[in-house]
Symmetry: C2
Subunit: 334 residues, 2 copies
């Protein structure tokens, strides 16, 4: 399997994408990664790779870079030789099975739509993040930033794709699907959410109605649907809180002796908690609704997170994720 | 000072509002609370109050109740003898200085607008919650549910009221004001957020641009502005996460001995953390933008939270909160 990696995307490019590619190829002897970007700079970071690994890493030169400040669709249209666009084109032509990027989210979404095209029956793609919850369940939060403001039909289509993802790719039977709202009662929600609720009620999905913000960490449903603005704010809020609490604990601990002793005893439990919520471990988010496997990695990704995102891409391809969604939609959209 | 308390609002009414009123009057010998609602049921809960406290608690009968499922403005218009409406009318007539309710948020907002009226220069009111952050700063998050979907001007007016609140009532000089968005870059945000940003840039506020979800718990600005849908989801997400993590810790601790020992040592620190994020301690949220002091308490409020909400009302009145906002707006709106 050949995966195209946008080597220039993300806060730590090209170093971490290159190191991540090496790590992934070390872990899986059947994997091939094509690094797309500034060939000279990429080669520098590949110097230390073992020859058995280096043999499975290709380099394709692209002399433009989509930056974090670039306007999404303009940059995809104009920067035809950007690492992101070239990597996307490799998926379209079949040279690669998937593309992974830690770059500009909007440009990744625009690239997915413009270069790969949408799956029939889907108007706007959604980024679906599997999130660890405090129950044993992993919930899929969709959308976390692909479609910033949504029409009711967009939300309903996210629900459908999320449901297919959880059933066919994660193995949850009859996944429960909920709409995120500002309260559980039917009088809550704005016009968009209310209309999406009516569409979902009439659908064949296992729709359980509204959930509130507090239900997201508690994991009360398999799929949680919201627009990309809200999902993005929520996801990053959780991240900031997690990091912040860890910092605060470190601070407190450095200040006095008692908690230090306590921490020693609690370490195994804290490690377990951290493991559960560690985004680096999950690594990548599939862009659902486009005709090709596109995995968005976190902008701050280090090598381990990039490597995990490549594994997410590999598994998504192996499980025929795109084809599954396309087949299910052909049977009946929403 | 006389405060009107909606005795029938909230998940635990009328018991907890009554107990909360007693608690507040015990704590402050200058406070008078008027409990509005089903007089017979209210009296039952006042039986055990000391006579010095009981003497400062009035009871006004109202035979209707606005439920959580009632449509906000319809219920305020139709249920003219509901505890909420009667309590609001007491503020309008001057019989009470403020109203506190743990009931239906939408109805409280509708009541504020219809019974008390808006402050000139404000189109829609906003619920502003002071939130503890991981820095030493307390940030004001506005709106958390008064105006579910906003126009750009609504967001700009929240920013203005939030700024006045933090400067004049909390004592922060030149409070920094940020707009919540799905990224820090200017290309982020939907049309509403982008237009609000342009209005704020041109204003005299200390506007610092966009913040992301992760900045909210980190406390990077004094005021964080968003629409009521997003603010509500965010606030409840934080609440759910806090409670969930506490439960998970309890579970882990009951399972093995080591963390139990650790917890013993860490208790002082955990208590400090919990104190910082305990919503019961803050109690109430002022509805900013209406011509009267309206404090929304959490629907799940127990006596202590109700008592604290009454204290928030008392302080808001003492600091002439409504008049301050009105005066500042008269000098120049947005």
């Amino acid at each position: 399997m050949f995966l195209a990696m946008d080597a220039m995307g993300g806060d730590r490019a090209p170093q971490e994408p290159c190191r991540g590619a090496i790590m992934a190829c070390e872990a899986d002897p059947n994997l091939n990664v094509i690094l797309v970007g500034d060939a000279r700079r990429i080669e520098e970071h590949l110097r230390d790779a073992a020859s058995s690994v280096r043999a499975r890493i290709g380099v394709v030169h692209a002399d433009q870079v989509v930056t974090m400040d670039d306007a999404p669709s303009v940059s995809i249209r104009k920067k035809r030789n950007s690492s992101l666009r070239v990597a996307m084109e490799m998926v379209r032509s079949g040279e690669a099975s998937a593309v992974v990027s830690a770059g500009n989210t909007g440009a990744i979404v625009a690239g997915g739509i413009l270069v790969l095209g949408r799956i029939p029956g889907i108007d706007r793609p959604g980024l679906g993040v599997p999130i660890a919850t405090l129950s044993s369940r992993v919930s899929l939060l969709i959308d976390v930033g692909a479609t910033v403001r949504c029409k009711p039909i967009n939300l309903a289509q996210f629900a459908l794709m999320g449901s297919i993802y959880m059933r066919s790719l994660v193995g949850v039977s009859e996944p429960s699907v909920a709409l995120l709202s500002n309260g559980e009662e039917e009088i809550k929600g704005d016009e968009t959410v209310i209309q999406a609720r009516e569409i979902l009620k009439a659908s064949s999905l296992n729709f359980v109605g509204y959930v509130e913000g507090k239900d997201v960490p508690l994991g009360t449903s398999d799929v949680v649907v919201c627009d990309g603005y809200t999902g993005n704010v929520l996801l990053k809020f959780g991240e900031g809180l997690g990091e912040g609490v860890m910092n605060l604990m470190r601070e407190e601990i450095s200040r006095s002796f008692l908690p230090k002793v306590g921490l020693l005893f609690m370490m195994p439990m804290l490690k377990k908690l951290h493991y559960r919520f560690d985004y680096e471990r999950h690594g990548g988010t599939p862009l659902l609704g486009v005709r090709g496997t596109v995995i968005k990695a976190h902008g701050r990704s280090k090598a381990r997170a990039i490597s995990n995102a490549l594994m997410v891409a590999r598994d998504f391809v192996a499980k025929r994720g795109v084809q599954t969604i396309e087949d299910e939609l052909a049977k009946g959209g929403i």
